[in-house]
């Protein structure tokens, strides 16, 4: 393993300005709200006002002038009334039963935005109210359940022989709160098809949802991602809903329809992180050796299945933390409640279970009187260890290293000792956590998806072809760097094609920390294949052996002699042969095998590792917590672009600190979300977080491009329990529920 070195050849490992950066810092970048379409209407959604009920009637005020308002209900749907995803249980527009308070029932469009708002006030939906189920522990509708077992026959004996430590941990909803709300435009086409422009992560999700909804063939749909103002999972599946709505309006109106949610509507209606209740029971030896784990995890899926089965799957697969257990039985179920469907949010089930296991490690440390860092170091996974699925770790494991780096960087040992003696009204504490995160889709996901991506030759270099979206994390820049190095080109001579489902290969959704590793790896192979073809072509043209031709810095050479600039070769090749386009399939490492039926095997090809140290000050008068210092160490395999990679770590860490300290949704007893505004759902400002110390480590993943493995979600997993550990250190109280709001801290301290 090595720390980032500054001097390297090529684009990979350097931090050039992001390719879309100049447009973003000058205001030139065009987001959906900045685009207008001739003859466009604006769309709005008529929603339920009860969490559970039977629709009796949609009443359109007869006194209102509806002539220039387009109205759509479920009866207008030409295809199937479903939001196509894993299960097709969610209707695009409710027709009989509503299952959450924001469920869409009808749609309106009008050219005049003021009249549209008026129109919305003149629609009334009569609903016979049914009793909503809001407590997941009382729900009897199970969307999906999982059990993972490792040597379960020894569980009973292990619990009989060793010290048993139990705890229950709770987390609530978390809102993605991307700063650009959900936004799409639908343009009807003469062939009966539809073109969508939108803010989204997964253009092919939308593409397929529209085919089902509108009964269209593949060629009648085009979905184009425009510059996207943040996603974090919130624009993984929801864009299929709003795109479906805009498309229904546009088809009926025969005009373009633009839909942009108002902030309150976005927060109330769209997906959030799954709440969870997690019971842990562990058997531990007196020296701190972890022996056995039993866990029961219940996640709240909301009204429809959407992505819940895969969120729960990823959650349960990480529930044992980055530790070795001899015996384990982990049960998880995700259930229905009458709240808007919960969905993808950075971390995807792992921030929940990592909060539970890492908070539980604090409990174990207290019970045994062992320093929590030492407890983690002692049990941290190493090469050769097995996960509860039986997966044997064979490479790129950095659990101990990240702990050691962060302990040194944060001055953990000194502060642990010093703060332990603090008295008075302001108490300081330091906490540490260890997290890991599987990169890419779970289990056989990538194999089933068969992602494809590639490159094509341009007259000055190459163009990257995929539907993997840049939602701020830097996909455009990172793909360009990887392709540039594989081709021996300057970064400026590589571009990334517009993200359009009618033109690009399906590289899969932009989720699951898979973009750099899985899609980037596929692009890198395609670029290498193109390089070989061009080397052969140069060899022919210049009459030299192909094996001696290489390209660096945009110049082809052989035996140390420059032959021709890349651009000249590219132009000549394109003139002679028309085009050069290479699409590769993702190649899954054959040794990585998983059994979906038994949940045994290699759930992920590799894991990222991260440790976080958080230093807090707790005010015992106000029970407020201030963050004094945050240090992270993160093994990313290889940082393709260190500044962007640090940006992922820092941004994810602050989202996680918001989860730990500030962010909480409040619901009334009828399933209504009460805080739907940025004023009352508070995310961190620049003043809420301290300066951060970010260390990237590079422990390469042998099958990853340039050694890279997934990164995006990992920083979200560990910081919340590190805060719990720090508050425990400061106050002596382990608070097993976040956010650690002043009222929660007060109740714990006074208990």
């Amino acid at each position: 393993m090595k720390h980032i070195e500054l001097e390297q050849q090529g684009a990979v490992g350097r931090s050039p300005p992001r390719k879309d950066g100049a447009d973003k810092v000058t205001g030139r970048a065009r987001y959906l709200d900045d685009l207008n379409f001739p003859g466009q209407l604006w769309g709005r959604t008529v929603r339920s006002h009860v969490a559970h009920g039977r629709i009796r009637e949609i009443v359109w005020d007869a006194a209102f002038d509806w002539t220039d308002v387009v109205r759509v209900t479920a009866a207008d749907i030409p295809g199937e009334n479903v939001v196509h995803l894993i299960e097709d249980d969610q209707p695009m527009l409710a027709a009989d039963v509503v299952r959450h308070r924001e469920e869409p029932i009808a749609l309106l469009a009008c050219a005049d935005r003021e009249k549209l708002e008026e129109a919305l006030a003149h629609v009334r939906v009569e609903i016979e109210e049914l009793e909503p189920v809001l407590d997941p522990l009382r729900s009897t509708v199970v969307f999906k359940s999982y059990r993972i077992e490792q040597a379960p026959q020894g569980l009973a004996q292990a619990f009989a022989d060793a010290r048993v430590i139990e705890g229950t941990y709770r987390v609530g909803h978390q809102e993605q709160m991307y700063i650009e709300p959900q936004a799409v435009a639908a343009i009807p086409r003469e062939d009966g098809g539809i073109t969508i422009y939108g803010s989204m992560q997964c253009p092919f999700y939308v593409h397929r949802a529209l085919q089902r909804l509108l009964r269209l063939d593949d060629s009648q749909v085009a979905v184009i991602q425009v510059v996207t103002g943040g996603g974090f999972g919130g624009k993984e599946d929801y864009p299929s809903v709003i795109s479906g709505h805009a498309a229904l309006l546009a088809r009926k109106a025969r005009r373009p329809v633009k839909m942009i949610y108002k902030r309150e509507e976005d927060v109330a209606a769209t997906t959030k992180r799954h709440p969870a209740v997690m019971k842990y029971r562990t058997a531990v030896e007196a020296d701190g050796t972890l022996v056995a784990l039993e866990a029961e995890i219940v996640m709240d899926g909301g009204a429809y299945v959407t992505l819940s089965p895969v969120v729960a799957s990823r959650g349960v697969l990480h529930a044992g933390g980055a530790y070795r257990w001899r015996h384990a039985r982990i049960d998880c179920r995700v259930v229905q409640t009458h709240t808007p469907p919960n969905g993808a949010f950075r971390g995807f089930g792992v921030p929940q279970t990592m909060f539970a296991i890492e908070s539980h490690m604090e409990r174990v440390a207290v019970a045994l009187g062992i320093d929590p860092l030492e407890l983690r170091r002692k049990n941290a996974l190493q090469i050769g260890d097995e996960l509860p699925t039986g997966q044997k770790l064979t490479s790129s494991v950095s659990a101990r290293e990240v702990l050691d780096v962060v302990a040194a960087r944060s001055d953990y040992a000194r502060k642990r000792k010093e703060y332990g003696r603090s008295v008075g009204e302001k108490r300081r504490g330091i906490g540490i956590s260890l997290a890991f995160h599987g990169a890419g889709f779970t289990g056989t996901g990538e194999v089933k998806l068969k992602p494809r991506a590639g490159v094509e030759l341009t007259d000055r270099g190459a163009r990257v072809l995929s539907v993997s979206t840049d939602i701020g994390q830097g996909t455009i820049t990172v793909f360009s760097q990887m392709a540039a190095d594989a081709l021996g080109l300057a970064l400026d001579d590589v571009e990334v094609a517009e993200n359009d489902t009618s033109k690009m290969p399906d590289s899969g959704p932009t989720v699951a920390s898979r973009t750099t590793m899985v899609v980037g790896g596929t692009i890198t192979r395609a670029a290498a294949a193109m390089a070989r073809i061009l080397q052969g072509y140069v060899a022919q043209v210049h009459d030299v052996p192909a094996a001696e031709v290489s390209c660096a810095g945009g110049i082809f050479s052989a035996r140390g002699r420059a032959l021709a600039p890349f651009a000249a070769i590219a132009k000549r090749y394109l003139q002679e042969r028309g085009s050069l386009r290479i699409i590769e399939n993702y190649r899954h490492p054959p040794e990585i095998r998983f059994d979906d039926a038994t949940y045994r095997g290699d759930a992920y090809p590799c894991y990222g590792w991260a440790a976080t140290a958080v230093e807090v000050e707790v005010d015992l008068d106000t029970y407020e917590i201030s963050l004094l210092d945050v240090s992270t160490a993160t093994d990313v395999g290889r940082a393709i672009h260190p500044v962007l990679a640090e940006g992922q770590v820092e941004g994810g860490t602050v989202q996680a600190l918001g989860y730990a300290l500030l962010e909480e949704h409040v619901w009334d007893q009828r399933g209504r979300l009460l805080n739907t505004r940025m004023q009352n759902y508070v995310i961190p400002t620049a003043l809420d977080v301290p300066r951060m110390h970010t260390t990237l480590l590079e422990n390469p993943y042998p099958s990853g491009p340039y050694g890279a493995k997934g990164l995006g979600e990992l920083p979200m997993d560990g910081p919340a329990p590190a805060v719990v550990g720090a508050v425990l250190h400061a106050t002596g109280k382990l608070i097993p529920e976040i956010p650690l709001s002043p009222d929660r801290v007060m109740r714990a301290v006074l208990s």
Binding site: I179, G230, V654
Partner: protein, 151 residues
């Protein structure tokens, strides 16, 4: 109504209570200024009115009549990026970019005011601008770098 926008005098017809944000975006074609919440919380619509940092979603255009307005489009000079914009590029201060125009305007205002670019002062200066991507670290670094280049 009259505004001087990014140094250029503009006159136009608009309802007096139309939001300055909408006038800039719809009537003057300056779409760099963004709407994130419409209630003055996120700061994506930050502009300067006579040098003061405001949320343009909370300003009726009549309140700005006759004033000088600076938007993100006015920060670059003669087509060249301003130093603070270059620093945002070098330090990774922009990710998704939707908060960036407002951040750039707030940063520009801070750099003009001449306060020392301590961590606290810089964070205070952008406290009204929410960013969900960066965790603010690289934005603070970028502004400090720009401040260092000025002095």
């Amino acid at each position: 109504m009259k505004l001087t926008v990014n140094g250029v005098p503009r006159s136009f017809e608009a309802p007096p209570l139309k939001r300055l944000l909408d006038v800039l975006r719809e009537d003057l074609g300056l779409t760099g200024t963004k709407e994130g919440c419409g209630e003055g919380e996120c700061g994506a619509c930050s502009v300067l009115i006579d040098g003061e940092l405001v949320n343009s979603c909370l300003v009726a255009v009549c309140q700005a009549d006759g004033c000088s307005v600076l938007t993100v489009e006015g920060v670059a000079r003669n087509g060249d990026l301003a130093p603070v914009q270059k620093c945002f590029l070098d330090r990774g201060g922009a990710q998704c970019g939707i908060c960036t125009p407002g951040m750039i305007v707030a940063a520009h205002r801070f750099l003009e005011c001449g306060l020392p670019a301590t961590n606290e002062n810089v964070r205070e200066a952008i406290a009204g601008n929410l960013c969900r991507c960066t965790g603010y670290a690289k934005i603070v670094e970028a502004i400090q770098l720009a401040a260092g280049q000025r002095s």
